[in-house]
Amino acid sequence: MAQVSIKIDGRPVTVEEGSWILDAATSLGIEIPTLCYFKYIKPYAACRLCVVEVWDKRGRSRVVTSCNYPASDGIEVLTHTPRVVSARRMNLEMLMSRCAPLPVLDELARKIGVTTPRWGTGTDTCVLCGLCVRVCDEIVGAQALGFASRGISRTVTTPFEVEAEACILCGACAAVCPTGHICMEEAGGREIVHSEIVLGPNAAITVPSRQAVPNVPHIDPETCVHFRTGGCQVCAAVCPKECINHDDVEREEEIEVGTVVLATGFRDLDPSPLKQYGYGRLANVLTSMEFERMNNAAGSTNGKVVMTNGQEPRSIAILHCIGSRDENSHPYCSRVCCMYALKFAHLVKEKTSAEVYQLYIDLRAFGKGYEEFYQRILTEGVNIIRGKGAEVVSAQPGDPAGKLLVRFEDTLAGRFRELTVDMVVLCTALEANGDAKETGRRFGVSVGADGFYIERHPKLGPVSTPTDGVFIAGACQGPKDIPDAVAQGAATAALAMSLMVRGEVEMDAACAVVDEERCSGCRMCNDLCPYNAISYLEEKKVSTVNPALCKACGTCVAGCPSGNIRALHFTDEQIYAELEGILQ
């Protein structure tokens, strides 16, 4: 497209020939009022508030709508002449005479200088700008809305004024409607706000959370209009870096690597099967993870500790060891709960005036600075009671959101006690991921009775596994706090690097050898080898073992019918000698 020079209010600007004057004016920062303009759809000139005066090269002037007047070389545009202002006032007054008093019209009236509309005000809330109709057609591609009737009866409606089957409930019409004539109802518990730039918590493009890694927005294909109609793609048009690619698809990639670090982490125990704690039934019984999110400034309550009714709790019981150190669930200690429970107490004391009760079996403040933190919590007026919470029930039967009754045995006082509190936090166990065993099997790492990966040696090989080149780090090896997980992560990185830097792998001298002098060439061993390390030499009519492929399991040694495969380790002679020794 050719570039043309135009002047707007005396300021020269170079734009593409045929582009709209309104865009050029906006780029210069000149404000032109409009109701029916939306950058990503075709201009429509319905509201006629964007009128400007255009002088052509021959000295003739016209009042035109700037939103759909193309720029051509040498024209001069004036946006605030008395002629323009008078036309705008007239158009706005006519709109106002049709419509009920609307905030958006009042705002425009203030800007343009209309004090009392000459022809009074009407009752309609639709300004007939057609944004909804055009967005639905051009962007969404659903064509669920249209105009009906003419003249003063003209309305926006669905075809035949019945519920449109074509509507996909995207909410784009409501988002662009300048007056609020179209609005979204809570449908299916999820209101969809879909508009340019302003991305609400329910928008199709969101950053999952403020701490998300990587911290970039992602598109939810369930709600994104493009994936339902093939239209829209406004986000791609807005993005200045052209980062958005709607055609990208999920794909599997194969990467060849020399070392693998398993850092698959843990999962939080779901306390709902432990019916005695009422989780899921009683509204103010939370898991520690939910309470942690609540305390987070970026969380659901912006960091405020509140009950479901929105009020601050006056008492909170924190129950330790839910699902851990429990014969009926996990026998092991989850290691991190004592300290985060103390942290919770500290946070609650800082933010609210609530009473805090800690119900513990044993307090394990084992790390650097932990005991000191525990001592500090003791001075903050937290009630620390030795005794595991046995049961949480509603203190007001029939009201699951009401006060809660916690029953436990105070093992220091030696008697059963009850506490009435507003909120209960369950410190749930850290458990192994459900698919840890399957993942481990792929890498030759076995899981222990607790479901976590077993290291090669508890003291001398804490991050190594029986499979060379495969390491484990973090909570997949066992419940672990952040410093320990970081230390393990660094250790695995160093071990992996030391393998990779060397560039070559040392292999065990252990392997099987065929005595070619005596091999009959029966080829029985060829199929026995799970690594295809044994091949048959046609010219010599014997089998041979490739030492680079041999993993030294010895299956072929035991399988050779003539006993002519020898293991270089665990030889037959050694084993017979062992037998002789132990059976003397």
Partner: protein, 150 residues
Amino acid sequence: MSFEPRLVGFLCNWCSYTGADLAGTSRMKYPGNLRVIRVMCSGRVDPNFILEAFSRGADGVLVCGCHPGDCHYAEGNYKCLRRLALVRRLVQDMGIDPRRVRLEWVSASEGARFTGVVTEFTEEIRALGPLRLQEWHFDHAAADAQLVHE
């Protein structure tokens, strides 16, 4: 004096030997009758080893490998499973109770299972009594006579 069976165990390096090690480091108790020989894989257990053990005076032989699907060498334990089925028939033909040869899967984390297996096997062999293979005398003359008779 009660009979103390002499048992030989062939344990695979990756699962069962580690499991036995775990039983030890966890201070679990099991009868001392089993003498363990480590092999890299249960697939390494040559049937001759088992026969040799009996001929040298063992009352029972226990072979332990990884659980099916968990073999460090992919499928050595399946090879072992096949061979042990044949060994059992072979020893039966020889007049040895096939219960004296046992195959069990013990993983690296199953220290408790290992002690259970050893205890159970020891009790079973104790109930079966001593094998006394070295005291057996094969009556060649009687066998020949029977052949002629047939």
